[in-house]
């Protein structure tokens, strides 16, 4: 294809040092044609992910087409002491796939085949570059259900989901990616390929090593295949939209719903700033005058769904909801959920730079957290949009700013730091689902403490003593 492949050295090409270019020629020889990219025009688009203001141009990009390609790249990287950052679709929000200095990007977007749907054993085997959406659709076509549905599911890869242990809108009832991983194929930093886990529902042979790689953010190994658990499709679903006059009241409603206990499948929250941005894009009829809305879904047996929707509505009203309505049709419910998924990107309509945090607290602390965040933003005179998976206690305060305004950025950074401290005070975590990567690395010791940091470092060193895989992410080795 002409536009896709045509290259000519343009201005901006750096002469790589002789040894590096000789090494790249070796790499070229062991890979299928067309899978190694070295021209600036090809590299620039791989120098960032979904995170604001983080950028670094890779030495080269490899588009692996098989586990064999991945293993070849890792062995080559070892011989040439070149760092490797694995990338799925680059939607990560912690800078996890932004290349390490002088390193390769190993992109798995072409490693995208569904290998098996095992109907009798309710599981599915896929290569790591398959998108979450394709997994969900394949499960659906087999009459089954794959619940984790991150906002980015249209394009995020299953490998990226596993590497970040991503959550989604249904985490409250169905859990996160980890709860669906039965097995993984992983290429280790020494170039060896291992299979971890099995199709057995119970399996305690050895340590649960697959779990070590779930949420490992590309620092321990490259995930090449994923075996996923599927569940039966829920028979019915109900959706409720409740409107509130304050953030704290909405948060209080969530805490009371959980304490009742009702465990609906979705309890999503949007504040006024976010409501307006989302409505501006999606036009699904969100109430523009509300301070906050809760989008709640229950699924399962029709009678149970009815009952849960009724309790959610009455609790919302107890917490002074200014309006509650049920979606009239499945299509309307789907539109609302789809609109909610666009929240983060839609906020980018407001200011040029969107910096999103991922703080999470025990659910009875939600009201306290959102009240603190609003106060912090006001004190530093910065604009924040707040939304999140409230049912999981997971809040995404999104600071809306302009990276070219140094003074404002300074205020934003102070507000972020205070938000993190407030979260830790409330017994929370600095990241519920996006991972640490580069963006939250400096806050990690504050949460984990010295002993856990040491344990973390020793696990990393044991698996990757040469520090080849995604160096500088999560932690810096001494």
């Amino acid at each position: 294809m002409s536009g896709g492949g045509s290259t000519s050295p343009g201005a901006g090409t750096h002469e790589a040092p002789r040894s590096a270019s000789a090494a790249l020629r070796d790499l070229q020889r062991i890979l299928p044609p067309g899978s190694l990219l070295t021209e600036p025009i090809d590299l620039i688009p791989y120098s960032f992910d979904g995170t604001a203001a983080l950028q670094s141009r890779p030495l080269a990009v490899v588009l692996a087409e098989s586990t064999g390609d991945v293993a070849s790249v890792i062995r080559w990287a070892r011989e040439n002491a070149t760092p490797v950052s694995t990338r799925g679709s680059g939607t990560g929000l912690a800078g996890g796939s932004v290349p390490s200095a002088g390193g390769l990007v190993l992109c798995l977007s072409r490693l995208n085949r569904i290998l098996e749907v095992d109907r009798p054993n309710l599981c599915l085997l896929a290569e790591a570059g398959v998108t979450t959406q394709q997994i969900a659709q394949t499960a659906e076509a087999a009459g089954l259900f794959y619940p984790p549905d991150p906002g980015s599911m249209k394009i995020s890869t299953i490998g990226g989901n596993v590497a970040n242990n991503s959550g989604g809108l249904r985490g409250l009832k169905y859990g996160v990616t980890r709860d669906y991983v039965m097995g993984l194929e992983v290429v280790l930093p020494d170039g060896d390929t291992v299979w971890l886990g099995s199709k057995c529902v119970k399996d305690v042979a050895g340590l649960s090593l697959k779990d070590l790689f779930i949420g490992s953010e590309g620092i321990l190994g490259v995930i090449t295949k994923v075996l996923l658990k599927l569940v039966p499709r829920p028979a019915s679903k109900g959706s409720v939209l409740a409107t509130f006059g304050s953030l704290a009241e909405a948060a209080e409603a969530v805490s009371r719903i959980i304490a009742r206990p009702v465990i609906p499948c979705t309890l999503e929250f949007l504040d006024k700033v976010t409501i307006r941005a989302v409505e501006d894009y999606a036009r699904v009829g969100l109430p523009l005058d509300a301070e906050a809305v809760l989008f709640m879904e229950s699924d399962g047996h029709p009678a149970q769904v009815r009952e849960e929707c009724e309790s959610m509505k009455s609790i919302a009203l107890e917490c002074r909801a200014t309006g509650v309505r049920e979606a009239h049709s499945p299509a309307e419910a789907l539109d609302l959920a789809t609109a909610r998924r666009t929240a983060f990107s839609a906020l980018a309509r407001i200011r040029p730079t969107t910096i999103l945090e991922d703080v999470t607290v025990p659910r009875d602390r939600l009201a306290a957290l959102v009240t603190r965040i609003s106060a912090i933003a006001a004190a530093h005179n910065v604009l924040v949009g707040i939304f999140g998976h409230f049912g999981d206690g997971n809040v995404h305060p999104t600071f809306l700013t302009d990276e070219r305004d140094a003074a404002e950025m300074e205020r934003v950074h102070r507000a972020i730091e205070e938000t993190i401290r407030a979260t830790l005070d409330l017994g929370g975590t600095i990241t519920g689902e996006h991972g640490v990567g580069l963006a939250k690395k400096s806050f990690l010791p504050m949460q984990l403490g010295a002993s856990e940091m040491r344990l973390l470092a020793s696990v990393k060193s044991a698996l990757d003593p040469a520090g080849l895989l995604n160096p500088g992410k999560i932690l810096d080795l001494p």
Partner: protein
């Protein structure tokens, strides 16, 4: 390039799965996010435009699926047009043959409507005289350059009558009292090769109480110039059109071609810095309506007769610049559903580009034909009798791909409505 639009892209990747070129190669540079990153690198001085960059912008279909998908509201069309203009300005793609063809088409044919019609006449004579068949059977096609040879069978059949022979300059309302006065834009391609669509549009408008004003000779709207890096010519064409149709004199200015309409609605942006035209251009934008949009807005009369032999199964292909450029998706379907005896079957991937994309067939034949095949396979699978679409480029592309005798035939939704009205009083 407008830096604030570049900055608005926050790299979320939500547009990637809707981009046909990314879908095919899975390369980030072939995606909207990648292309925007390259444009931003150019604006930041981190990368200098080169031949490969020009190639990348020509590989982009300009289908604008990414604009529909983008929650952040990035106006990709603006970025894409200015990138192409910068490339032309820098002469990155200049070679004598290409410059000659651009001169013939963009500077000469598509700025001189009379010349364009004469060319059409020449082409019509060529097709009718039997010379075309002789040329083909004698194998003379071999002497054409490769791209022209591949395109020769695609050369559209020129209609025996152009719009001016089919539509009077002023058509009064038919069978209805006058409610509106509208102008009808006949387009270039539509006029030469699908002039009956213009006739049907005028007829349908008249049936709905519109007095239809259709000057015999109309300047090209300039979309072909804007998309191909010639903003100055695009502005010139816009001024000519505004001069010809004073927006104050009409309730609506009607376009029936998705590609033209999407451009026609942006004259205020194009002429923003022209003190003599800026205000009229704003008035113009507010008057331009796609025919389907207008018919639904004025609550068109539902026909009582069928437009085709019944029962008839029909499907609908969304032209990119109608659905992504103008966000018009429900109105054409509403019109089709209103026709008695016609069952509308939803087309899988209805809003995925068919590969026609202006001159894309010529500049990127391989990708264009891949997209054509993908589209036509979906159409064939619906087992429909016909496929409706509302853009001449798409129309020709589908006709080229649906070439077996059993294939559905291609038609403009308005032609079906016109036929239904005609059948009411046989």
């Amino acid at each position: 390039m407008d830096y604030s639009i570049l900055q608005q892209c926050m790299h979320c990747g939500m547009c990637l799965p809707t981009c046909p070129t990314y879908d095919h190669t899975k390369l980030e540079r072939n995606s909207p996010r990648g292309r925007i990153a390259l444009m931003r690198a150019v604006a930041d001085g981190a990368f200098e435009m080169n031949y490969a960059f020009a190639g990348e912008m020509s590989f982009c279909l300009g289908c604008l699926a990414c604009e529909t998908a983008c929650p952040a509201g990035v106006r990709y069309a603006d970025l894409f047009e200015s990138a192409r203009a910068d490339i032309e300005q820098a002469g990155l793609l200049a070679q004598p043959e290409r410059t000659f063809w651009r001169w013939i088409t963009l500077r000469t044919l598509f700025t001189h409507p009379r010349l364009l019609r004469w060319t059409g006449l020449g082409l019509r004579w060529w097709q009718q005289s039997g010379l075309q068949d002789l040329f083909r059977s004698a194998g003379l096609v071999r002497f054409l350059p490769a791209t022209l040879r591949d395109l020769e069978p695609l050369a559209p059949e020129v209609r025996t009558a152009f719009s001016d022979a089919l539509i009077p300059p002023v058509l009064p309302p038919q069978n209805a009292p006058q409610r509106f006065r509208v102008a009808l834009l006949t387009g270039c391609m539509q006029d030469l090769i699908l002039s009956e669509v213009n006739r049907d549009t005028a007829g349908v408008l008249a049936e709905n109480g519109c007095e239809v004003v259709t000057p015999a000779l109309q300047p090209c709207c300039g979309s072909i110039h804007a998309h191909n890096g010639e903003p100055a010519l695009a502005m010139q064409q816009a001024r000519r059109l505004i001069d010809l149709f004073d927006p104050a004199g009409f309730d609506a200015i009607i376009s029936n071609a998705g590609g033209c309409g999407s451009h026609l609605k942006k004259f205020s942006h194009l002429l923003a810095d022209d003190p003599r035209y800026a205000e009229r251009a704003r008035a113009w934008d507010s008057k331009v309506k796609d025919i389907h949009e207008w018919l639904v807005e004025i609550d068109f009369r539902k026909p009582t007769a069928a437009g085709t032999p019944t029962p008839c199964r029909a499907t609908y292909h969304d032209s990119c610049h109608l659905c992504h450029g103008q966000k018009i998706t429900s109105q054409p379907r509403t019109i089709l559903r209103a026709i008695p005896g016609l069952e509308l079957v939803e087309l899988p991937e209805a809003n995925w580009c068919c590969g026609s994309a202006g001159v894309y067939n010529i500049t990127q034949p391989e990708m264009a034909s891949r997209l054509k095949d993908r589209k036509c396979a979906h159409i064939e699978q619906t087992n429909c009798d016909l496929v409706a679409t509302a853009n001449p480029g798409c129309h020709l592309q589908l006709e080229a791909g649906l070439d077996s005798p059993q294939s559905p035939f291609v038609i403009h939704p308005v032609s079906l409505l016109a036929a239904a009205y005609r059948n009411e009083n046989p």
